[in-house]
Amino acid sequence: MANLRIEQLNKRYGATTVLNDVNLSIEDGEFVVLVGPSGCGKSTLLRMIAGLDGASGGDIHIAGKLVNTLAPAERGIAMVFQSYALYPHMNVRKNMTFGLKFTGVPPTERERRVAEAARMLRLEELLERYPRDLSGGQRQRVAIGRAIVREPEVFLFDEPLSNLDAALRVSTRVEIANLHRLLKSTIVYVTHDQVEAMTLADRIVVMNKGRIEQVGKPLDLYYEPANLFVAGFIGSPAMNFFEAKVESIEGGRARVTGAAFRGLDVAAASLSVGDTLTVGVRPEHLVRGEAGAFAAEGIVELVERLGEASFAYLRRVDGRMFVAEVRGRQTPAPGETVTLVAASPDVHIFDASGLRVATGTR
């Protein structure tokens, strides 16, 4: 088990920068999820930690040891691939022991580890089967088993669930969470799925365009996104954004107005008159009513019913759309004009550069 420290890590292919000065510190036993849209550099970062891709600059320390020049096998890592990457011509047992032969693990010890991993992952029945005879979920468990028997310092997961169907994804997700509880190992997990990120992570690293946008606990990211990107990325459906301006400041309170919502009073903090702002409100924080710190009006165009909630898509005064979550059986009808309000702690203010402004509401 080990901690992981990444300093000033860069990756360039010719003129394109894939990773830009990434700094990240992961504690021993922590489950960290790298999340971001495709092409944000999260997989590249993982492959660089594994040693499969070289860095253009910067350092990686695993368990306090500088590993920049070490081969993947010498770094004390094990990786689980999206495609499982099982050796097709070896049965499950051989898939798991193949790597151990080369790292000086004696045969009896190999057998012990395989037996233990098989028990943990319910693979005992499958040990003599070949990958082609296994289902997707079983293959994924074998891939995880192959990682476990190496007894690595750090587990690396590269989108391990994206080839599974929805039901299996949920159950495998739970299994991975259990595994982490059991093994207490350091895990770095890459996904583009924010549900996976929120459910699994001790801490989430949100990446965009080769940079880290924010690192934090799942609920911290949700309630206090550092910037517009994180605010829009975490949460589904995405947060609604409204253009706004600071109209006046009086007695420590700033009056924020915009075309598509009613005026809003927030703590002035660092704001000054005339500032361009973005006001963000999550769909699930909007409720029908009249009284609220924030209020916006819209004409319902479409209602998506999911069961426990429905999503109403509304046309705003400025012609753009926003989304509100409606609970219960009473959903607004298309064509209806609805006023939706949100309490002040649920209203996020971002400045012109996209950074969240501390308005002292929370």
């Binding site: 492959r47 594994a50 040693g51 499969l52 081969a71 993947p72 096998a73 010498e74 890592i77 094990a78 990786m79 691939f81 999206q82 495609s83 990457a85 099982l86 050796y87 097709p88 011509h89 193949f98 790597g99 080369f102 790292t103 192959r146 190496r150």
Partner: protein, 277 residues
């Protein structure tokens, strides 16, 4: 199936059957006539042997008057050793050229592809000189060397294509597992290349086994003759011993057929893989 489809299917099969007859015909003729007496070979060349014309005289003569078994073993040694070397070096070179980027790798790949375009026989005189000065004249080694050079470019080309189809994650997984590069090649990549290797094996073996040119110019003594060259001694300027020629040729065909049958399943998998997923 509509009548139109059926008609098309029949016409396609007619063309294919005609082509097959054209291809198999001469071979059939050789094998058939090798079991007939001399008069019947000329009297009715297209008739299969019957009780009155059947004879093994050709085979008897071949075994009695020539070192056919020696020629056979020479051919086998040259073919199999060449094949083994072509497959080994071809696969290794293909792996290196597709997997690793190193200084000069592009130039090297280009150089090898020239080998596909330029027939090796153009270099016969230079090869003969080279073998002479290396003291390899009239040895099987000389033949093996030439055939390896002849077979390598195409095998590297074919195997490179197949290696590219092996998922990159597999090699990465093996690297994370701590498998040394050489073992990744032999224990992860090579087993997955089996169909490709069978394909290359057939493409390599057939021209080598059938080659007359290089044995003719590189070997001179009876002890280094191959089957194709050995047969020539029955073809005289004035008299040709057709019984023996046909018998020897029939025997020469046999090993290629056997190898093809053994490898054909893999060969078909190799030829069609990639065409359908």
């Amino acid at each position: 199936m509509t009548t139109e489809q059926r008609a098309r299917s029949i016409s396609v099969h007619l063309v294919l059957i005609a082509y097959s007859l054209l291809a198999v015909g001469p071979i059939l003729l050789v094998v058939m006539n090798s079991f007939k007496v001399r008069s019947a070979i000329f009297g009715s060349p297209l008739a299969p042997p019957d009780t009155s014309t059947f004879s093994l005289i050709g085979y008897e003569k071949v075994f009695r008057s020539s070192h056919i078994l020696l020629y056979y073993s020479n051919s086998l040694i040259v073919t199999l050793v060449s094949m083994a070397l072509v497959l080994l070096f071809g696969a290794m070179a293909a792996w290196a050229l597709t997997e690793y980027r190193f200084r000069g790798s592009t130039v090297l790949a280009l150089f090898l592809s020239i080998g596909i375009m330029v027939p090796i026989r153009l270099g016969s005189v230079a090869i003969l000189n080279m073998m002479r000065s290396a003291g390899l004249n009239d040895t099987l080694t000389a033949l093996v060397l030439v055939y390896v050079a002849q077979g390598l470019p195409m095998s590297i080309f074919i195997l490179s294509e197949f290696i590219q189809q092996i998922p990159k994650d597999l090699r990465d997984a093996a690297r994370c597992d701590g498998v040394p590069e050489i073992r990744i090649f032999f224990e992860v990549v090579a087993p997955l290349l089996r169909p490709a290797i069978a394909t290359v094996a057939v493409f390599t073996i057939v021209p080598i086994w059938n080659d007359l040119w290089f044995p003719l110019i590189l070997t001179s003594s009876d002890s280094t003759h191959t089957v194709t060259l050995g047969v020539q001694q029955f073809l005289g300027q004035y008299i040709t011993d057709w019984n023996s020629v046909l018998a020897a040729l029939s025997m020469a065909i046999l090993p290629v057929v056997v190898i093809y049958v053994i490898l054909s399943r893999q060969l078909i998998a190799g030829l069609t893989s990639g065409a359908v997923k």
